[in-house]
Symmetry: C2
């Protein structure tokens, strides 16, 4: 019976990738962000996710980020690396570049919209280029690709494809969705969610993993919340969530990347500019995030 890779269970923290205006990664600043997360003892780290601006970094800069992250976290916290890109051969190369990490995360990034068969073959080719376990990055808000449950079932049957990172279900029915995926996936296939404001509920409903943007900046309080939800303690989960509510509102309003960048600025962390064309939030938004994080132990 396949076992679930440890990287895809519990709380996975997704940090920003500090870089300069030209897209050169600041590996020292990245290691400082990672050290804060390692110290909090989260269950895994998701390097180069959407919040880690992976699509805005060259192959060489992604490689530098991976190397710096491995130096900092190897043997301490499992490291997941995002390897999404448009071309199948390039994604396979990024998978090979991530050797030394513990797991991979692959989004079906597209320009010409993909058919289900094209997405399937893309995953098959990239998973075949690596020995690392891979999570399907189901992120329709950025890729605009929708996975059918039939495609998820087909992908879950491939060797190396061990997990999925789901968006929040529109109907809020985590238990129903998790049950349907588990019914056809091999045992050990890990089902996780992103969209921080919905994830404590996902864990309470039996999800394996919370892929978290806020845990990239607030790993301690996010971990306490995740632990309560994983333990099935609905009351304690609700109590801890109240402190997060202003932050959830903020993230829903501005999106994970811009909101994280603003929060990092308020926390005094060095993260560099957002990659243009993305613009930082204005002074009003910065003031409101300062209020939103008052109750959290950063």
């Amino acid at each position: 019976m396949p076992t679930t890779p440890q990287a895809f269970t519990g709380l996975s923290a997704f940090p920003l990738t500090p870089a300069d205006e030209s897209g050169r990664v600041d590996t020292d600043a990245l290691q400082r962000l990672l050290a804060r997360i390692v110290e909090a003892k989260v269950d895994s780290i998701g390097l180069l996710g959407s919040t880690g601006t992976y699509m805005y970094l060259s192959r060489e800069e992604r490689r530098r980020a991976v190397k710096a992250a491995i130096e900092c976290v190897a043997g301490r916290v499992p490291l997941i690396v995002g390897i999404g890109t448009l071309r199948t051969d390039d994604a396979a190369a990024l998978a090979r570049d991530a050797a030394g990490a513990d797991a991979l995360l692959l989004a079906p990034v597209s320009y010409t919209p993909l058919t289900e068969e094209e997405a399937f073959r893309h995953y098959e080719a990239v998973a075949g280029a690596t020995d690392l376990p891979l999570s399907i990055y189901n992120t329709p808000s950025t890729t605009h690709f929708s996975f059918s449950e039939a495609l998820i079932q087909r992908l879950a049957g491939l060797a190396n494809i061990s997990a999925i990172k789901m968006p929040l279900p529109k109907d809020g029915d985590f238990a129903g969705e998790i049950g349907r995926i588990r019914a056809t996936a091999p045992s050990g296939f890990a089902i996780g969610y992103s969209g921080d404001w919905g994830c404590p509920s996902a864990l309470l409903a039996g999800a394996d993993c919370w892929y978290s943007v806020v845990a990239g900046l607030f790993p301690k309080p996010a971990l306490a919340l995740a632990r309560a939800a994983i333990a099935g303690d609905a009351e304690e989960t609700a109590r801890l969530e109240r402190a997060f509510q202003p932050l959830w509102d903020y993230f829903k309003a501005h999106g994970g990347l811009r909101a994280s960048h603003a929060a990092a600025t308020v926390l005094g962390l060095k993260v560099g500019p957002l990659p243009r064309p993305l613009l930082p939030l204005g002074p009003d938004a910065l003031a409101s995030i300062e209020t939103a994080i008052t109750g959290l132990d950063a």
Copy 2:
């Protein structure tokens, strides 16, 4: 009074970019495709559009394609070059790489969805990096970015931004949409459409340009159709369109890129494989396109 750049009026033909499996452009095959188009005397050529798989080619390969195209068409047909990419600095570099062409086409390619302000600043920065006239590539089916008419108005006011390539209006009201854009844009701002099956109607309604995928492969019959529509001859336009109807159906069913690639294969033109993850259409589709093009003079 600004004059409309010639590149953005009449029939603009968008060819495929032949390349091998690794994404290396076959410049000889590209020049052969371009020579067919030049010979038909279309009004402009759109290199590295969506059908030209620009997003799947590296900067170096795009540069090779531009150089080969300039060698082939300079002084004979105005050349538009697609320069879309995720990062603003990279798009500005691509604009500079296209020196020697006649005009540029810029789509707001995104991963993190862009705000209107971010899109505006992106265009402003890229237009500021070049002296060439630029057309706004409004292609929500691939970029998932929607231009408001207010944003189009703001962009049309920037120096160098001389034109827009619009998707077909959902309500089919070309005259209404063209009228609204003309009412606020500087004189000489050129309004064109893509979505071949709707473009003869757009020209009849007063659009300046038909940005055409089919003209990349069937430039002669497409030009005859464009000339009838530009002359305002609705009857002749309808007569000529009847021969295109099976091809319109085919393009609607499969998308411009996959349909073009299949049609090129049937015509015996060397275009190489589609960039993976994109897959070629199957044998049934190839047979049906063979029927669809029987009535056209390729």
